[in-house]
């Protein structure tokens, strides 16, 4: 979506904060951050973030558009909600991080081979196919996401875990053929198509 990216750069030339407020889920909260850093100290993967949340918020206000959107920091969010529970200003930080990650993906700015981005995308595709997640196919697609050779290696490494799940009937081989899903699949897909259209239209409009 480089075209959309160009349109957004053009439209919000002077204010990345405004762009985030208009286009990122819960983005209107960003300006409320008071830079206390409780979020950074509360994050279970805090040391894996190049820019912890409060830094991301300050970078947004400072107009560091590319540094923020092409960062892999927000993809380190485990959705533990510690930051939300502790933020003294009540910012929905988890949701803002998810929103920024999604917006970066929409604009095509995610760093190459970001594993959580790949997994998140596979999860979304998997659930939309039949309305419910097919755990077996999701697991396999994840092992093979970096090509066949590495996929075989990962599968071997994970073999014992898979066997344990099979033996305890917490994984089912027949899920590879069809598997669980919603009955009204066509209705489900019509709903999702419409939801995507409405959201895409809203964001397109914001870039024009």
């Amino acid at each position: 979506m480089t075209e959309l990216n160009t349109a957004m750069v053009e439209q919000y030339r002077n204010s990345f904060l405004q762009e985030v407020e208009a286009n990122v889920e819960e983005g209107e909260w960003v300006k409320m951050c008071m830079q206390c850093g409780v979020c950074a100290g509360s994050c279970p993967l805090g040391n894996a973030w190049e820019h912890p949340p409060q830094e991301i918020f300050m970078m947004i206000r400072a107009g560091k558009r590319e540094a923020v959107l092409s960062s892999d920091s927000m993809w380190m969010c485990t959705s533990c909600y510690n930051c939300i529970a502790r933020c003294p200003r009540g910012l929905p930080i988890t949701h803002i991080m998810h929103g920024l990650a999604h917006y970066a993906q929409r604009l095509g700015l995610v760093p190459k081979n970001q594993p959580t981005q790949k997994f998140a995308q596979k999860f979304w595709q998997n659930l939309n196919k039949k309305g419910r997640v097919n755990e077996l196919k999701l697991g396999l697609s994840l092992y093979f996401m970096n090509g066949f050779g590495e996929g075989v290696k990962t599968s071997l490494k994970m073999k014992d875990i898979g066997l344990g799940m099979l033996k305890t009937k917490r994984m089912a081989v027949n899920e590879a053929f069809g598997g669980h899903g919603v009955k009204d699949l066509s209705g489900f897909q019509k709903i999702m198509k419409k939801a995507h259209e409405l959201e895409d239209a809203r964001i397109q409009k914001s870039g024009n």
Partner: protein, 299 residues
């Protein structure tokens, strides 16, 4: 006691042959014992959990939950929605709150739902099974059902993240929730006092995409249980249960540890204490056998 009825949202991992089918089995047994009727939301779909945000923007993601709530309001009218999966509960309740706050989003989701003839009224409370146990049934009734007290078992109550934050259970603290310990005590077992990893993150979905980072966190959860001489860990969350149970061999290989700590659901403890068999309690679906709990179940 009058039969209580709820509109039940099991979620993908609770289906037959899925990773928390053991939770589903044990919850069904628990509900039989407590005279609780759970009516599945007909044709429910996935909630997108907390990892669907990559491809799923706000409206498509929340619309998944809107469809479930709308189906529940249509078919299980007047019944509270109850979920056993932390992520299902969280996603559904978050969606309901967002639609309450944002009229534009509510209008758009209804526009999407209309494509399949559905309508969201958004008047239904979205609850966790643990809320039902504590608020609607109560420790006293639960204690009264105990036929086989879990005597001699030391249990680390691992609450995890999403059952605890951002909503949690009313009246409990985010940092040190006590309800799981109280439940363990009610069942006649011995809760680990001051289990310091009770609300530590297990990595959630990142256990798949960032395995080493996640396993480092999981290691601390298990280590702390051993340090407190726990016989087993109990949790309400299907992701916590799976992550903490199934990667122990890999952690052992990487760190030269000898972990073999069973991780069970609260519902499995209740089933055994209520006098049900190991099979009814889904103990046969443990990857790491809960030996001492099985012994009690086989008495």
């Amino acid at each position: 006691m009058a039969k209580k009825e709820y509109s039940f949202y099991p979620g993908c991992s609770s289906q037959q042959g899925a990773s928390s089918s053991n939770m589903q089995k044990s919850v069904e047994t628990m509900c039989e014992e407590l005279d609780v009727k759970i009516n599945q939301i007909p044709d429910w779909n996935c909630c997108a959990a907390s990892i669907g945000y990559g491809g799923g923007g706000e409206l498509p993601r929340l619309t998944l939950s809107a469809r479930n709530i709308a189906l529940s309001e249509q078919h299980n009218t007047g019944q509270d929605i109850v979920a056993t999966c932390a992520a299902c509960w969280l996603a559904t309740r978050e969606a309901a709150e967002r639609f309450h706050e944002d009229d534009g989003l509510m209008a758009e989701t209804n526009q999407a739902l209309a494509e399949a003839g559905l309508k969201l009224r958004n008047e239904t409370p979205i609850r966790h099974m643990v809320e039902v146990l504590i608020e609607d049934i109560g420790y006293e009734t639960i204690g009264g059902k105990v036929q086989r007290p879990l005597e001699g078992l030391k249990i680390a109550g691992y609450v995890g993240c999403q059952t605890n934050r951002p909503f949690g259970i009313a009246g409990e603290s985010f940092e040190n929730p006590m309800y799981l310990d109280k439940l363990v005590e009610t069942l006649g077992a011995d809760p680990v006092q001051n289990y310091d990893k009770k609300v530590q993150c297990c990595g959630g979905a990142l256990a798949f995409s960032e395995p080493e980072k996640s396993q480092d966190m999981i290691k601390t959860i298990i280590e702390s249980a051993y340090d407190s001489s726990a016989d087993l860990i109990v949790t309400p969350c299907p992701v916590c249960q799976m992550n903490v149970e199934i990667y122990q061999d890999q952690i052992n290989q990487r760190h030269n540890t000898k972990f073999k700590m069973p991780v069970v659901y609260y519902s499995q403890l209740m089933d055994v204490a209520f006098g049900r068999s190991a099979k009814d309690s889904a103990l046969d679906q443990q990857v790491i056998k809960a030996g001492k709990l099985e012994e009690i179940a086989n008495k």
